[in-house]
Symmetry: C2
Subunit: 398 residues, 2 copies
């Protein structure tokens, strides 16, 4: 044992790097440090810097002027240099949430090297942390039974390729013979099949809602909504490139027409209930758009529909690129002649799609189609989409 | 459609940040850029920096002196400042491999903000890239059938907790009734159940070896070898802390005694063959140590054993903390009285455990126990462990 200890000593002493296994990393610096009062202290080791800043969604927002109007941006704050080149900042007391931040060292934008918890939004990696005792308790890993998260490949003849999706099966799935309802949960533009389990914390949310008895145990299927992609960047052949916001074949009707391939795979592979009232579909932004059109194009497939900050009909109707988008009025009439049990619309007041959602609701109101409407603060942000999932999922399959 | 385009324009124009969904990230800079000749160009936007460097395992190694002798460290190189504050460096032509690197801006160590491909080794996040047309073809996602990778929780009564593991099921598992053999693949100190599918590229390696007919289709189970942990940092309650190299309950005999709980779960949950000759165990470093002692303590469980840069017996025998480690000679005698079909040892010439492996092999040689020995260049590094998996897996279950 002594010898091992000695070796470990040698290991830890050496800041050697990859030539032996990496055993360093930000030294002893702890950042972020969540304090007892739920303020947060950030520490960045940058001895040769003249300015160190943090930009985060927990700081008062900046307003940035653009030709399209004023846009809210995350706030920025300067850290103060302390001993040994460690810069420090302590936030105000933060309400329970999942927060993201970036670090600027002399205007060079990067991540906090002491915080290994990072996630990717399109081509940007930021750090994150969670403050509990409130809404974010649903996003945190709690001492409850946990479901399984799988990355699975399925055959998609409609698009002519093998494609990847993420499947959440609830705790107990493996050890029972029970059949489950299925929620299809769709990402937005620039996202992929990883988005909802990474930024969206969908597995934690479902674990917690199910454990609390608030949501029915269900399978959650998270496909890739980019019709030209087999999988998330880096997960398909020759795809290790910089992810993009606009991807081909996302709004040309093909991804919607390929959706039955996913349902077919899921209903063949998992123990699921196979009727309309045991299928739900929802999505954020472009995924809300897809949910709207998939559920209208296949009007008897989904008993529950959720549009989270969705791109709605009006924008697309101008250009009938696909019969999927044609005659929405007529499609909605068919869909609502045998209406879904729930048609749910959620949007933030400062979302750039707010007005379009008003227009879409008018379209529904004129015909007397019933829907549930939830309006929140905030814009086109993951914070809202996590909240919407926590509100939508408990309404399903009851 | 026009309206959508306008919105997208507003979106892309705005470098706004989290107040609307993140749609920026390193601007238009491409880094790393793998050139046609397999040299690699790195670009870092740091207009206010006076020095920008890259540290990577593709650069000539530095030697660093420590009280314990000279240690190899990854090489470092300075980038040159070009137009608009973009610093640039082009490497020499690189042989096929998976490479890791870090960026230093005025000695502030961080990641390349234009490269979203990152992985974590204990508490350090580095960027990576792959160069094909050689060994790394096995690590890349190829146009072959892909297995499923699942994060699954199981009950571990021996340690008194629910624990998480990673399971790879080969392509075709979901659509067949076939039973598969199982490889238990263990991580090293500071690692967890994510290590082999992230740094180790185990899913890609197995997909490719199986598609080429080099390895039998098998299930690969990657447990967490830290007996005090339920799961990887961030994946268990209250675990969102900085990961550590030394974790409690990794070498006290308990994790070895808890191993049958994993086998029991796997053999109950998956369609697997349940005899010794359809079970293999291997691991790197501490995981090699675990493989050695688990297979010796349960001498009729594993038909195949692999020790990758393993901590071997000698260090631990001094202190008999557990009957798992006592009387290794006697345990090996029992194990080799009905010997495993394969006992495989691999180590690099500059590994800090090289001499201990010589001693352990002497112990085996003295008794005439048969084993396969592979010696490579290099030290205690993931590059070797990926190679060892590509050499070990094809020898199993044949």
């Amino acid at each position: 044992m002594k010898k091992i200890v000695l070796y470990v000593g040698a290991f830890l002493f050496s800041i050697a790097g990859y030539a032996q296994q990496a055993l360093w990393g930000g030294g002893d610096i702890v950042s972020p440090q969540i304090n007892k009062d739920n303020s947060v202290t950030f520490r960045i080791l940058a001895p040769k810097a003249s300015k160190v800043e943090i930009e985060g969604d927990f700081l008062p927002a900046q307003k940035i002027k653009t030709p399209f109007g004023e846009v809210e941006a995350p706030g920025r704050v300067q850290l103060k240099e302390g001993k040994n080149g460690v810069w420090e900042y302590t936030s105000s007391i933060l309400p329970s949430e999942m927060y993201n931040y970036s670090v600027y060292v002399n205007d060079f934008k990067t991540t906090d090297p002491s915080n290994v918890y990072q996630n990717r939004d399109i081509a940007t990696i930021t750090n994150y942390f969670l403050i509990g005792n409130g809404q974010a308790d649903l996003y945190m890993v709690q001492d409850v039974p946990h479901g399984t998260v799988s990355k699975v490949w399925y055959n998609c003849p409609t698009l002519g390729m093998e494609r990847r999706l993420t499947v959440y099966t609830p705790a107990g799935y493996e050890s029972s013979n029970k059949k489950y309802p299925v929620l299809y949960l769709l990402h937005g533009a620039g996202g992929d099949e990883n988005a909802w389990v990474e930024q969206g914390r969908a597995a934690q949310i479902m674990d917690n809602l199910i454990a609390q008895g608030k949501a029915e145990p269900m399978i959650v299927v998270m496909p890739n909504g980019n019709g030209a992609q087999q999988a998330a960047p880096g997960e398909a052949p020759n795809s290790m490139v910089k992810p993009q916001f606009m991807n081909p074949k996302t709004m040309d009707g093909e991804i919607e027409k390929a959706f039955p391939d996913i349902i077919k795979f899921v209903e063949k592979t998992y123990r699921v209930k196979k009727d309309k009232n045991n299928r739900a579909i929802c999505g954020l932004s472009m995924g809300g758009f897809h949910s709207l059109y998939i559920s209208a194009y296949y009007p008897n497939k989904f008993g529950y529909v959720g549009l989270f900050s969705a791109a709605t009909s009006k924008q697309i109707n101008n250009k009938n690129t696909s019969d999927v988008y044609e005659n929405l009025d007529q499609k909605l009439a068919t869909q609502f002649s045998n209406p879904p049990r729930l048609y749910w619309i959620g949007i933030g007041k400062t979302d750039f799609l707010y007005k379009d959602n008003i227009d879409f609701r008018k379209q529904l109101d004129e015909k007397g189609y019933k829907y549930t409407y939830v309006e929140t603060d905030g814009g086109h942000i993951w914070r809202n989409w996590r909240v919407y999932l926590t509100e939508f999922a408990p309404l399903l399959f009851k």
